[in-house]
């Protein structure tokens, strides 16, 4: 609970502080998020050792008051969000100064902080309507952050605004239907009240509205149309933050809706519903990759790659009713993708920051000019492709095993095909950076003296941390260590087995 309050407070503090001193904004943000992050780790530990935390807002009992529930899944997502936000905030300091006029800085950081608030809120809430409120907070701030860059970003943001509002409306309609049928908005209550009403048309319609609404926000293919523009034209910091956290939170909301509100019985009582989800995900995986291959702008390519990677997570969710490995894969990929994509966007931001390079074709020799940023990019890209022992490999393994257990061989083929497609579009960049052009000089190249050309440390360190995490996580997921987390999540979501 404290997490939200602090964040909200600090957002306003930043605004106030901004009038006094522009420089302080960033530090307040960093301080707040680090505090939140430490808190979230503490919460995760508490959840894993003691059990679910429930907090009644204002002391009102659940059916009337708003309840915050933190179990293993959202504690995990919380840690992911805050960790990424922290790194991005550190990174942002120098980058934002570079990309945004100083006048706007306080506004930028308070919106940044509000976005983090919104994301955390979505994660911890146990109330359907409260989720909507935070969803709007997060979305509105995201529109604003994207528009900060000005120019074409305004149009992108406007596009996003329209699509996002549509999504929010759909979600709202779903909430309305459920309330009219059950008279409650609390997730826990809904879970108990809904089963007898599964046959009710309003409930079914609500489910569809929820899924579509959240899917728009999570840019699930084919509802992704707003996303590439938004990611491309937003400031790099913002694309990194939104790409790595926002979509994850939306996916989290989807998982929460499917498991905690509607439960598996609902999904399974409509034969084929899970398969529909899987096929949509499969389409997303392939289509996203193919679009990514056709791009020349690095950030746009990464954006389409996100569309494809979100497909992985959704596929995991879709397979999870049949195989627990599906859920493992989805959960693991939430973290993996956040780390990998965060790293890639930060690196892309660094390229733009330092060299002003957007177009992949101009990347020749970048490996020499910016060795660390390029190395970070390469590691994250390898991880995306899913080459062991990087992180992407583990999620791929889980998903393949899930597809096998579900006897859905086409998905195995799709996952493997996607590996190759990923290879095509990422390797093109790596080739450009390191190998293409200026070879052939049959002499030991004078290894560039001023490495990195003075990329600020505050931008470099977050990138390198994320790159290292790509490898560490890959090994972490393969060990037994995450099993307690998985078991806890499974039991919280009411899935048997494990």
């Amino acid at each position: 609970m404290l997490i939200i309050a602090i964040s909200l407070l600090s957002a306003f503090t930043i605004l106030l502080a901004g009038w006094v001193n522009r420089k302080s904004c960033c530090f307040i943000t960093i301080a707040t998020i680090s505090f939140q992050f430490i808190l979230s780790i503490y919460i995760l530990r508490h959840v894993l050792t003691v059990g679910t935390i429930r907090y009644w807002l204002g002391g009102w009992r659940p059916p009337w008051g708003i309840e915050y529930v933190v179990d293993a899944l959202n504690a995990f997502v919380l840690v992911v969000i805050l960790f990424l936000s922290l790194l991005v905030a550190i990174y942002s300091k120098r980058n934002v100064e570079h990309e945004i006029e100083a006048k706007k800085l306080p506004t930028f950081y308070s919106i940044f902080q509000l976005l983090v608030t919104g994301l955390c809120g979505i994660t911890v809430t146990g109330d359907m309507f409260n989720l909507y409120v935070f969803l709007e907070i997060a979305s509105l701030t995201a529109y604003a952050l994207i528009a900060v860059a000005g120019g074409r970003a305004l149009k992108a943001s406007y596009n996003y605004l329209i699509m996002g509002s549509l999504g929010a409306c759909f979600y709202m309609i779903g909430v309305g239907f459920l309330y009219s049928v059950t008279g409650t908005l609390n997730m826990g209550d809904l879970r108990i009240l809904l089963p007898p009403l599964y046959a009710n048309r309003a409930v079914q319609a609500a489910f569809v509205f929820f899924v579509i609404g959240v899917s728009i926000k999570a840019y699930v293919f084919p509802l992704h149309t707003w996303q590439p523009d938004a990611y491309t034209y937003a400031p790099s910091t913002v694309s990194a933050l939104i790409a790595s956290t926002m979509s994850k939170v939306m996916i989290y909301a989807l998982i929460r809706l499917i498991y905690s509100v509607f439960t598996l019985n609902f999904i399974l009582s409509y034969i084929g519903l899970d398969l529909v989800i899987c096929w949509i995900a499969a389409m997303a995986i392939i289509a996203g990759s193919i679009f990514a291959i056709t791009q020349r702008n690095l950030k746009r390519m990464l954006a389409y790659s996100s569309v494809s990677q979100i497909g992985y997570i959704i596929l995991g969710v879709g397979l999870s009713p049949i195989s627990i490995w599906g859920l493992y894969g989805a959960v693991a990929h939430i973290l993996n993708h956040a780390v990998m994509k965060g790293c890639l966007f930060l690196a892309a931001g660094a390229f733009i920051h330092k060299e002003g390079l957007w177009d992949i074709r101009d990347f020749e020799g970048l490996g020499k000019k910016m060795p660390y940023a390029s190395a970070a990019f390469t590691i994250a890209a390898i991880s995306m492709i899913g080459i062991p022992p990087a992180a992407g490999f583990a999620s791929k393994l889980f998903l393949i095993l899930a597809s096998l257990e579900a006897s859905q061989y086409p998905f195995v083929a799709i996952l493997l095909l996607s590996t190759l497609l990923n290879l095509v579009y990422f390797w093109r960049v790596i080739d450009r950076m390191y190998f293409v052009g200026h070879g052939h000089g049959h002499e030991e190249a004078t290894d560039g003296g001023e490495s990195e050309g003075g990329l600020p440390l505050s931008m470099l360190v977050p990138m390198l941390i994320l790159a290292a995490l790509c490898i560490i996580l890959g090994i972490f997921w393969l060990t037994e260590l995450p099993l307690p987390l998985f078991y806890e999540i499974l039991s919280d979501l009411g899935v048997s087995g494990g």
């Binding site: 493992y328 390898i382 080459i387 062991p388 022992p389 490999f393 791929k396 393994l397 393949i400 095993l401 096998l404 257990e405 195995v412 493997l416 095909l417 590996t419 190759l420 290879l423 390797w427 080739d431 390191y434 190998f435 293409v436 052009g437 200026h438 070879g439 052939h440 000089g441 049959h442 002499e443 030991e444 190249a445 290894d447 997921w477 393969l478 060990t479 037994e480 995450p482 099993l483």
Partner: protein, 501 residues
């Protein structure tokens, strides 16, 4: 201590790699690291041999994975050790050689070269010593990725497109491999490499097993069996030491090693018989042997001819494994180190010829036997070995293969004929090279390169390794148990349950 030896063995190259990168400004220190690491790796690997020979297995478990029943770790058995000894001993020699080669040609990006070289060895040794298919896969992919920068070292457009082809083939293979592994795990709950095969696999349906086997085969495109071989000649654009170690030893051997592992340690002899898969495999191998040799005859570029020769020779190993008899498998296992030593000599000679004379095509090589006698002598010896002519070690492995074919219940004669024909073809494509080099007159006038001074032998750094490997090829014939190879093969055969020799 004993248990940690395999870990040390694979750690050596992994530690050397960053050190190489750090000392990039001091070429001598950098090459020093490579040499130290290679010697250390080799000694660690060799030190495990006596224990393995006494019938024990060294297991080194890193951690239990999230997949129940699968751990991530190393397990050293006789067969794995053969491959490990081969790659690590040749790493020392190739390191020496590449120092000479790279400096003589003043190649660019030498640091990168040594860096990825160390990682490739890390992958190869890891493949050799891995305990189960999952570990195998991880190292297998590391090997693939780390060799890419080596293949495209030249960075010319052709090199890069060759690299793309290399990646397209091998990583697609990787995808099939991953599928096959997960399928194995799904069916049996284990991915361990067990001598005699995973018994639980027998209960799966016939169709699935056959499909899986083809996935495994596609996974090992590294073995360059036809028609999935074309990446290998293309990849010959790499610098010669790379072709030598990686494309004659580490990468392709990892492929055939994998096939033998799958045949004997995953499916098992009985299951292979029952499904009739041995015949399929043997036919693929036989086809590749013959057709590969024909392709080799048609090549004029020396390295490309050697590449096709590799393709054909690798299939000897596959064929031996496919026979599923004690002698056949023995021949296959022997051919891994023997072919490694012989082929590496040939490649190093090809590189030495290029450095000394600048010639790449066989038709230009008239008379070079007199100019660079040591190199060409080494070349001739090992070329004879390739054809299976005593007193070079190729004879031993081939004779076992012939025994293996002879003792087959069916089709034995046919396969025997294939082996003999292929050996004959080997003679046909190697002999002209020797003939041209020694017995053709040097063309008078502007023939000899750019005509600046007399053509001398390649630098000593290149000459020594290739002489050593050539001598070893003969020693292996006289005394097959050098480096414990023969005993290890016997142990491996006993492990597989063939009893006695």
């Amino acid at each position: 201590m004993e248990l940690m030896t395999p870990l040390f063995a694979i750690l050596c190259p992994a530690i050397a790699a960053p050190l190489i990168l750090l000392s990039k400004r001091h070429p001598n220190v950098r090459e020093g690291w490579t040499l130290v690491a290679s010697v250390a790796t080799f000694s660690f690997v060799l030190s495990m041999a006596p224990k393995i020979l006494s019938g024990e297995v060294i297991e080194c478990i890193f951690f239990q994975t999230i997949f129940e029943g699968v751990y991530f770790g190393l397990k050293v058995d006789a067969f794995g050790l053969i491959f490990a000894i081969t790659s690590s001993s040749l790493w020392i020699l190739v390191s020496l050689y590449s120092i000479g080669y790279m400096r003589a040609l003043k190649e660019h990006a030498q640091t990168r070269f040594y860096f990825y070289f160390a990682w490739a060895i890390f992958g190869a040794i890891g493949v050799a010593l891995s305990a189960n298919l999952l570990t195998f896969y991880v190292f297998f992919e590391i090997l693939t990725v780390s060799t890419y920068p080596l293949v495209i070292h030249d960075q010319s457009p052709e090199a890069i497109s060759a690299g793309h082809k290399y990646f397209a083939y091998l990583l697609t293979g990787g995808c099939f491999f991953l599928f096959a592994i997960m399928m194995t795990y799904y069916l049996t709950g284990t991915t361990d490499l067990i001598p005699g095969g995973i018994s639980a696999l027998g209960s799966a349906s016939r169709t699935i097993l056959i499909v899986m086997f083809f996935c495994f085969l596609l996974a090992f495109m590294k073995a360059a069996w036809m028609p999935f071989h074309s990446w290998l000649p293309t990849a010959m654009i790499a610098p010669t030491p790379v072709s030598a170690l990686l494309h004659a030893v580490a990468v392709v051997k990892a492929g055939v090693f994998g096939i033998v592992r799958v045949v004997c340690y995953v499916y098992g002899v009985d299951l292979m018989h029952e499904l009739g898969l041995w015949l399929v495999l043997a036919c693929i191998a036989g086809f590749t042997m013959i057709v590969g040799s024909f392709f080799a005859i048609a090549q004029d570029n020396l390295k490309r001819r050697l590449a096709y020769s590799t393709i054909s020779q690798l299939s000897y190993i596959i064929l031996g494994a496919a026979f599923l008899t004690s002698n056949g498998i023995k021949g296959a296992m022997l051919h891994i180190p023997f072919h490694g030593y012989m082929k590496i000599t040939l490649f190093m000679c090809a590189g030495a010829i290029m450095v000394a004379t600048g010639k790449k095509n066989i038709s230009e090589m008239a008379g070079i036997g007199k100019q660079i006698p040591v190199t060409m002598l080494a070349f001739s010896i090992t070329a004879l070995g390739m054809c299976g002519i005593p007193p070079v070690c190729g004879f031993i492995s081939k004779i076992y293969l012939c025994f293996g074919a002879w003792t087959l219940d069916q089709y034995g004669i046919i396969f025997l004929a294939i082996i003999l024909t292929s050996s004959l073809l080997d003679v046909i494509y190697f002999f002209p090279i020797i003939y041209t080099a020694f017995f053709r007159e040097l063309p008078k006038g502007g023939g000899s390169g750019t005509g600046e001074g007399k053509i001398k032998e390649a630098p000593i750094f290149m000459l020594v390794p290739l002489t050593i490997t050539a001598i070893f090829s003969i020693i292996f014939f006289i005394h097959p148990n050098t480096l414990f190879i023969f005993d290890l093969v016997k142990t491996a055969i006993v492990d597989l349950g063939f009893g006695g020799v």
